[in-house]
């Protein structure tokens, strides 16, 4: 058991903090939101320049050659600042599976561009009423010539308009296929969505879209396990982001209540106020621990389905409770859009509902327990 961070990990954390604190200010985010798109291209370029976009990429693709732990440290800091950059869709959901399961040609073609900030990738993980990308129900792929023809739909695809390729799964004759879709291809249509977190998201409709052989990752034998692999990493990365989001909103609440006076005393001195904040501290500590465990196990390529599910359950619960406690203890200021707390609240909801809520994940874990696969050893 080792809970420490190495010097390199601290360096990554400090570098991410320095850039994000400097660039992802509430004023900057406010300006972008007013322009109508929550994406900071300048900041993305700066993260590329610092090397952070390649933190978990191998050196031959222009990366730093670190692992999932270091990547999650960056993501936690993005959560802590609510920076408008697509770290999880790009750096986790699409880059990691390509690096792990893609062909050499795919890696050469796509990964260096991600590290340098020149291109974005994303993943379409959700379908209507289906939050498990390992079992696509509304999307299918039919072999044709060297490639595949795709039909169907995906919901809530982040940054679909800006991505060079969209990683997605579809049913094939032999199982679940994993493809890299070109959003510019003929037969693709994107409809913009309006979502709580203001992340740019799209509905993706596929009407006889041709995917060339070079953009196929798997045609069915291993597709489901690849999607499960990436879904576990995506969930866990969002858990890491929630640690940053909840920790920061809790600390904002602690300092605000220490200063705000009512009845001639700081409101923090009311025991009921202190205790609600203390409950946030407990929640954040719990969420952080199960998240770190999941990160550590995945980074070492251990079987960690139970631990990832537990992290996701805690993330939803903690995110929700801390969000409402923080707003409540701030009173009116908490929901004033000139004060940055509201962004933490909407991102908590974003993360809570992605790839399964606490309730649906509890049901999955319960199923594993009933199958004798999750005893408390």
């Amino acid at each position: 058991m080792d809970f420490s961070f190495s010097d390199e990990q601290r360096d990554v954390q400090n570098l991410a903090q320095a850039i994000l604190n400097d660039k992802a200010t509430p004023e900057r985010q406010d300006a972008l939101e007013k322009q109508g798109e929550r994406y900071d291209a300048q900041l993305w370029a700066q993260l590329a320049e610092s090397g952070l976009l390649g933190v978990a990429l191998e050196a031959k693709y222009g990366g730093m050659n670190f692992g999932f732990t270091e990547l999650c440290l960056l993501i936690e800091e993005v959560g802590r600042t609510t920076a408008p950059v697509p770290v999880v869709p790009v750096l986790v959901s699409s880059v990691l599976p390509i690096q792990r399961f893609g062909t050499d040609e795919q890696k050469q073609r796509l990964l260096p561009g991600v590290a340098s900030g020149e291109l974005l990738l994303t993943a379409a993980l959700m379908e209507s009423c289906n939050e498990n990308p390992a079992t696509p129900a509304l999307t299918n792929a039919r072999a044709q010539g060297q490639g595949y023809v795709l039909n169907g739909s995906k919901l809530c695809v982040p940054f679909a308009d800006k991505a060079q390729r969209i990683l997605l799964s579809a049913q094939t004759d032999t199982g679940v296929g994993v493809f890299l879709l070109d959003p510019q291809a003929s037969g693709v249509s994107l409809a913009p969505l309006k979502v709580t977190s203001q992340e740019p998201q799209f509905e993706l409709l596929l009407n006889n879209v041709m995917v060339e052989a070079k953009d196929v990752i798997d045609t069915g034998a291993k597709g489901a396990s690849i999607m499960q692999w990436l879904a576990e990493r995506t969930s866990t990365a969002y858990c890491a982001m929630q640690t940053g989001v909840s920790d920061k909103s809790m600390r904002m609440t602690a300092s605000y209540t220490g200063e705000r006076q009512q009845f001639d005393v700081p409101i923090a001195t009311f025991q009921a106020v202190g205790h609600r904040a203390a409950d946030c501290y407990i929640d954040v500590e719990c969420q952080r621990l199960v998240t770190q465990q999941a990160i550590s196990l995945l980074d070492n390529e251990r079987e960690a389905t139970t631990e990832v599910e537990i992290a996701k359950i805690w993330t939803g619960d903690c995110g929700h409770r801390v969000s409402f406690a923080a707003q409540h203890l701030h009173g009116g200021v908490g929901i004033d859009k000139d004060y940055p707390l509201w962004r933490y609240c909407v991102w908590s909801r974003h993360i809570e509902m992605i790839l399964g809520s606490s309730a649906s994940t509890l049901a999955l874990l319960g199923g594993r327990i009933a199958a004798g696969r999750a005893f408390a050893n």
Binding site: D2, I282, G366
Partner: protein
């Protein structure tokens, strides 16, 4: 960061699990069940002797004091396994009071008591609480005054658990009556033999069948060298072990075992329609809630143990102490409230069978859930009320200003 047991730690767990499975014979289990949380029967003492011979008492004590000098993580593994097995190991004597005594008691007391503790022949009861001094322990009024070369102790203690089996009471008494000093500044610790003249002990029967005691000190005289540590500086000995105690209070061993047993029970038992109890969605949800709650507890306790032997380099000691305190309080609050919730979630699965007492026909899982319903309320106010823990978290973990008290 590598949050998994090392091969050596995993091996220690396996070794200890096998050891305690053997130690807990069905006969010992029956004896223990009959006296919840207590021990004290003949088979208990026999097992204690064996534990002493095998070197499993004082695992955390430094080697110089006769212990095993185990690292904090190894100690946590030990506590986990003992508690999972359900053996009423006298942790307060061996792990909380013992090491303090071995360090701070007079030479004569040390040479008399330490070998007995380490060989499993001695239990010490803790006499802190009084009828009017519970959460606000520093307001205690039992006094000790020096007359010649003897201390004369006058007062009453309440909830002195295990006093009925103990040779000594580890007693907190006021030694400085000066009303102008802060109330926790004039307290000292004494070792009071339970066979001393003027000492008396009467049982208090509690809801959970745990028998505790009221103890009375009617001018009890003890030799001067029964004072432990420095005069008037006893508060530090009272609070010094608190973080560790809070952590061992919320050990995840027993609840893990209880969950596993309930899972097995729900797999083995059938509903009238032929489905297993565990096939019902709500049962799976209850089990999953407990499972995910346990995981946190495990990580909290192991992280605190890891931290104790891996101080962050260059961290300001004040900050480190504050965060250690906040984390211990978070673990105590979370753990105790989780236990109460977990016992309910598991009892719901047994349904009405969870109200059948161990001794009753038809009881399930040795009546554990029946009993836990009656004992669980102690933990949220004992060991420092959870309100106090939340006060500590707000102040030490979040640096929030606190009200004057």
């Amino acid at each position: 960061m590598k949050i998994e047991f090392t091969p050596e730690q995993a091996a220690l767990r396996t070794e200890l699990r096998a050891y305690f499975e053997q130690l807990m014979t069905p006969e010992l289990q029956d004896e223990v069940d009959a006296t919840p949380g207590e021990g004290g029967g003949p088979l208990f003492w026999q097992a204690m002797k064996k534990l002493g011979q095998d070197g499993w008492i004082g695992v955390g004590w430094p080697k110089e004091l006769g212990g095993r000098g185990m690292s904090d993580i190894e100690q946590m593994i030990f506590v986990d396994e003992v508690m999972r097995a359900g053996f009423p190991f006298p942790f307060l004597t061996t792990e909380a009071v013992g090491p303090v005594l071995a360090q701070h008691a007079s030479e004569r007391m040390k040479s008399e008591l330490v070998p007995k503790i380490l060989s499993g022949k001695l239990i010490i009861a803790i006499g802190y609480s009084e009828p009017a001094a519970g959460t606000d322990l520093a307001s205690l009024t039992t006094t000790a005054t020096l007359e010649g070369d003897e201390w004369v102790i006058k007062g009453q203690k309440i909830f002195t658990s295990l006093a009925q089996h103990a040779d000594y009471i580890w007693l907190a008494a006021r030694t400085n009556p000066d009303p102008d000093i802060k109330k926790h500044k004039g307290i000292s610790i004494f070792l009071v033999p339970t066979n001393a003249e003027g000492y008396d002990c009467t049982p208090i029967h509690t809801l959970g069948d745990v028998t505790t005691n009221a103890t009375y000190y009617d001018s009890v005289r003890v030799p001067a060298d029964h004072l432990v540590g420095e005069l008037d500086k006893g508060w530090r000995l009272v609070t010094g072990q608190l973080n560790r105690e809070r952590m061992s209070l919320v050990n995840c061993g027993p609840v893990s075992q209880l969950l596993n047993n309930t899972i097995q029970w729900a797999m083995d038992n059938k509903l009238p329609n032929g489905d297993r109890v565990i096939d019902q969605p709500w049962v799976q949800i209850n089990l999953a809630k407990v499972r995910s709650g346990i995981e946190v507890l495990k990580l909290m306790t192991y992280k605190s143990a890891w931290k104790a032997s891996n101080p962050v380099e260059g961290e300001d000691p004040m900050t480190a102490a504050a965060s250690e305190m906040a984390d211990a309080s978070a673990a105590k609050t979370y753990g105790t409230e989780f236990f109460v919730e977990a016992y309910r979630l598991l009892a719901e699965i047994l349904g009405q069978a969870s109200t059948l007492h161990l001794d009753s026909k038809g009881s399930e899982l040795r009546g554990r859930l029946e009993m836990l319903y009656r004992t669980a309320s102690i933990i949220t106010f004992g060991g420092g009320a959870n309100e106090i823990q939340r006060d500590i978290i707000a102040a030490a973990g979040l640096w929030m200003p606190r009200a004057q008290r």
